[in-house]
Amino acid sequence: MTKPEGKPKVAFYWCASCGGCEEAVVDLAEGILDVVGAVDIVMWPVALDFKRADIEAMPDGSILASFINGAIRTTEQEEMASLLRRKSQLVIAFGACSQLGGIPGLANLYDREGVYRAAYLESPSTENPEGTLPRLRSRENGYDLSLPGFYDTVRALGQVIDVDYAIPGCAPHPKVIQAAVATLLSGELPPKGTVLAPDQAVCEECPRRESKPLDLSISEFKRPHEVIIDEETCLLAQGLLCLGPATRAGCDAACVCGNMPCSGCSGPTSRVLDHGAKAISGIASLIGGDDEEAIDSVLDGIPDPVGTFYRYGLPASLLRRKTLS
């Protein structure tokens, strides 16, 4: 790897995301100052006024690392991802949307038409009597206007450009970010494709793990708003659907510590191909009942199985999206 002159250049970019990943970087507070002092930030739309043209003017490979959050949903996001890929030695998928498709990836249960219909025509808060919809090109007051194209399918960053590493989480835990940055700055780079977080399950870090029964038989799934949740006992043992056993650690079981079940934001560990399928495997095995009827009545307690098991990873799953007839 060639060493660029002066401080190493770093870029941050956002695609289809909520802003939480930007927040996560800011949340590093004084922890980030050392890093900021050591690098030259050449792009960060949320905080700094650099433009696409500034990046285009840079020589290829002159950025040490680009941290890109958000999934890829529009042509513009794809173009920016490709541009940053060309200019950077390393590209890091930052956060669940970039790594796996994230919450925006649930739009893969629909297509562009379905999304437009819901967002611009049918949602209860929409008032759009003329049925105006986004268009690629239009003319307004004598000006030609254009908008990026909108794909039917949301993709994870690694499905669009070559990605070197991923920092998991929605949003990534400050501890995970700091450890990842330290690894990247150490000069001893891990193998390409590494997810920069511990390769073990959330349960391993969970303060309640001692109370997780070896043999569990769940007769009813309870949803967090329906019950008073005991603050000490393993959530699965209380009938709450906790994805801790199937999800990558690093967050110190943040949600469980807030008395909420893990919803799986850090994705799978390295030996898993499809996070949702693995979670289905683990959770289904815990269901009490030996016949179809009993099993089905327990399963009725999971009203939205895709939204539950693929909440953060539908685009990166083996099936990637819903097949619409």
Binding site: T132, G149, T194, H275, S281
Partner: protein, 189 residues
């Protein structure tokens, strides 16, 4: 602690499955059979020179409880039109409880694949003991017929198209939505 290369960063490579036209469609059915019962039944069917639908490609696993839902997703993603799971009858599992585990996973998995637009008939679970070669034949033939009637499983976006998704630039296809608005100048919000 850091770890080895992770498959979730890069999209897994997909098979380039050939498109078959509707007339000469022969379903590809991946059968996951447990070693002690259903696989034995398939073996018996073979040694008894029984004929059953050749669409069924058998993969032997030690127990139906070993079948990870990932196997099923993988089969569909790589071009299977149907997946058949076979295990010992309730109470007869060589490992005692494996088939109950398979049943629980199957019931949940089928809800999930249906929500993802894959017809429920494409995933089937049957208990077939070592002596029930005849039943195996019936199930295989039935499933092949069911899936032939359904037609090939055509996933909206096969994995290989991900890097070059087409149609991003196109306007909304539905005339119902495009209708009036397409005809006049539209303000961009």
């Amino acid at each position: 602690m850091l770890e080895q290369a992770d498959s979730t960063v890069q999209a897994p490579q997909a098979d380039l499955t050939s498109q078959t036209s509707a007339e000469d469609f022969e379903p590809r059915i991946v059968a996951l059979f447990c070693n002690w019962c259903t696989y034995m039944a398939a073996d018996l069917a073979g040694t008894s020179r029984m004929r059953y639908a050749p669409n069924v490609r058998v993969v032997r696993v030690m127990c139906s409880g070993r079948i990870d839902p990932q196997f099923v997703m993988h089969a569909f993603a790589r071009g299977a039109d149907g997946v058949l799971i076979g295990g010992c009858h309730p109470g007869d599992c060589h490992y005692q409880e494996g088939n109950y585990k398979a049943l629980r996973r199957f019931r949940l998995l089928r809800r999930v694949i249906e929500s993802l637009g894959i017809e429920r008939e494409r995933l089937r679970l049957e208990w077939i003991s070592a002596s029930e070669a005849d039943r195996l034949r019936k199930v295989a033939d039935e499933m092949a017929a069911d899936i032939r009637a359904l037609g090939p499983l055509q996933l909206s976006i096969p994995a290989e198209e991900f890097r070059n998704a087409e149609g991003a630039g196109a306007e909304i296809p539905s005339p119902e939505i495009a209708g009036e608005t397409a005809a006049k100048e539209v303000a961009v919000p």
